[in-house]
């Protein structure tokens, strides 16, 4: 299974310019506390059913009874087949989430621990001069 972690955490936004707000308050990317993420497994059943339903509709419009019968039987068969699949979800392990996060942060060249001396104080939008 190809695991792709888009976001390890749900972001919480406090301000219109959330990124500026986070920088102003010295937000640091978390480096621990990752949890397993619950995911649905991939399936192509829906698109197959849609294709068969389209064939059924086309056949019914043009009175092509053989195709209508074929598409209807196939539609029911695919649906029944899918119902025998009881394993439809999985977890991305916490280790994997942590690994992907580390990789992402290393691309972004973000330091794990910001230098406290560079952090601004207070809330009023005062930011340390860039490149300090």
């Amino acid at each position: 299974v190809g695991d792709h972690v888009a976001a390890a955490f749900t972001p919480v936004v406090h301000d219109l310019d959330a990124w500026y707000d986070m920088k102003s308050r010295g937000y640091a990317h978390p480096k621990e506390g990752f949890r397993a993420i619950h995911m649905p497994r991939n399936t192509g059943t829906a698109i197959i059913q849609s294709g068969l339903a389209a064939a059924l509709g086309f056949a019914m419009v043009w009175y092509m009874w053989w195709l209508a019968a074929l598409a209807f039987v196939a539609l029911v068969a695919v649906t029944v087949w899918h119902s025998f699949d009881y394993y439809r979800d999985y977890d991305i392990p916490a280790d994997e989430v942590a690994r992907v996060e580390r990789e992402k942060l290393s691309y972004l060249n973000i330091n794990y621990a910001p230098d406290p001396a560079l952090l601004p104080t207070g809330k009023s939008g005062a930011v340390a001069p860039a490149g300090a």
Partner: protein, 213 residues
């Protein structure tokens, strides 16, 4: 730190929430699947509403052909109604057995329900066969087009329900009364009772009112 924005339900310095522990997706009792199934049933109800409305408009358009009085056999329809109502009770017994975790009993009641459903569809097909043999085909008049479309759509639903009951008997036997199968039996229960309700409408508006007019 005091938060000023009323929508700020989280601490001002909280910028992310940790993923919850592995939770249950669509298997529990408060499953979103049941709500989804209700939405499906309501959309299906719209189909039947449209077909009832169509039949209502066309029900007196006989085009010189047969009228309800000429072709309907009320005894047969009454028998069919009784069969379908009893099948709802037997499905109810299957659900009671499910609550008690009796797999064999669930399968038995499902089998009885399926047999009643098969009887219903068979009698309906027999009725259609007689009508068509008499020349009362869907092409004969607006009334018969509306009649066959409405009643056959219901019959097709019952047929699909019978197939579903068969699948559930197999899956309950093979995988037991696990949480997924219980949810499926619950959805099937809603489906089956829904078909019963629609049939009451068909019986009343098509057959009874057709005979009275």
């Amino acid at each position: 730190m005091a938060t000023i924005a009323p929508e700020a339900a989280y601490d001002r310095d909280t910028f992310h929430l940790v993923e919850k522990d592995a939770h249950d997706h669509g298997t529990g009792h408060a499953s979103p699947v049941l709500l989804g199934f209700w939405i499906y049933l309501m959309s299906d109800a719209l189909i039947f509403a449209a077909l009832f409305a169509t039949y209502g408009v066309l029900s007196t358009s006989f085009a010189g052909g047969p009228t309800p009085r000429d072709i309907f056999e009320l005894e047969l329809v009454a028998l069919n109604t009784a069969i379908l109502l009893v099948s709802s009770i037997t499905y109810g017994f299957a659900m009671l057995a499910m609550e008690k975790g009796r797999t064999r009993s669930v399968q038995l009641w499902l089998a009885i329900t399926a047999l009643l459903g098969i009887s219903f569809v068979s009698i309906e097909l027999y009725e259609f066969g007689v009508l068509i043999a008499e020349g009362a085909t869907p092409q004969r008049s607006g009334f018969l087009s509306g009649f066959f479309t409405l009643v056959a759509t219901h019959g097709l639903h019952v047929t699909v329900g019978i197939i579903w009951i068969g699948i559930m008997m197999l899956q309950v036997g093979r995988y037991g009364l696990n949480i997924v199968n219980k949810r499926r039996l619950m959805c099937l229960s809603m489906f089956w009772h829904f078909l019963d309700v629609v049939w009451i409408g068909v019986f009343t508006f098509v057959y009874l009112m057709g005979m009275v007019r």
